[in-house]
Subunit: 136 residues, 2 copies
Amino acid sequence: MESSDIKKAGLKVTLPRMKILQILEASEQRHMSAEDIYKALIEEGEEVGLATVYRVLTQFATAGLVVRHYFDGTSAVYELNRGEHHDHMVCLRTGKVVEFYDEIIEKRQLELASEYGFKIHDHSLILYGEFDETDE
Amino acid sequence: MESSDIKKAGLKVTLPRMKILQILEASEQRHMSAEDIYKALIEEGEEVGLATVYRVLTQFATAGLVVRHYFDGTSAVYELNRGEHHDHMVCLRTGKVVEFYDEIIEKRQLELASEYGFKIHDHSLILYGEFDETDE
DNA sequence: ATGTATGCAAAACATTTGCACCTGG
DNA sequence: CCAGGTGCAAATGTTTTGCATACAT
């Protein structure tokens, strides 16, 4: 359990916060919107406000417990920060998201930043397209 | 003049559309939000509705005349499609945006997609950070 | 003429905030 | 006990839409 993580972030270990972490851990879709998480909470019979979900996710993101992504312009999605950075392929047909990591791209980004006199805090690489229709 | 481009996109050549293209050409900040463009139009004394700006930008994006980016979660920005694809470095301090292109990264993306059985339609690479404070 | 475009106001979303009440340490 | 957290409703900011009017071809 990582109520310890919540504490480490300087936040009180409350029910909504623990539940939200649990949902992010348990969900097979690793990338969820605030609304997705809210619905999951409601389905579990939890009495949490949507505003709380947003507040908690923002706090978690600031604390580094979760990572926020903007795959499309309409809403943010959140995933648990499992420590290993990665980028994403997003299927425009099914919405499926696959994570990948590439050393060459990572290194090249640093080289480019250095060339431009730029210090990278963070980056976002998203490939939009579609997976072979061998499955769904 | 590229009223021809508007026509090629199957759109009527109207004043708002031409004005919006002009602004995107003329502006020294190559990346503008719908609101930015709307304000620029008003300053020029044009009578254009904000809704029209949104509609036209969406049509232009669909037609490939402009490219839409989501640098932050709060609003989309648009830039003229000048034909050469590039990615972006965004300064978190000043908002400055610098474009770059790297053959190695581009190629590597294709290789990775191929490995994953993924066909790339489009991609977005954004580096967030800050430029050296030698200037502003 | 006539199908498209436009402007305006209203609607639709995603997200944030104010405030009175609740709760964890 | 009491600072911090929560729920609710209202506010905010961005983008979309319905509709009556205006315009390009």
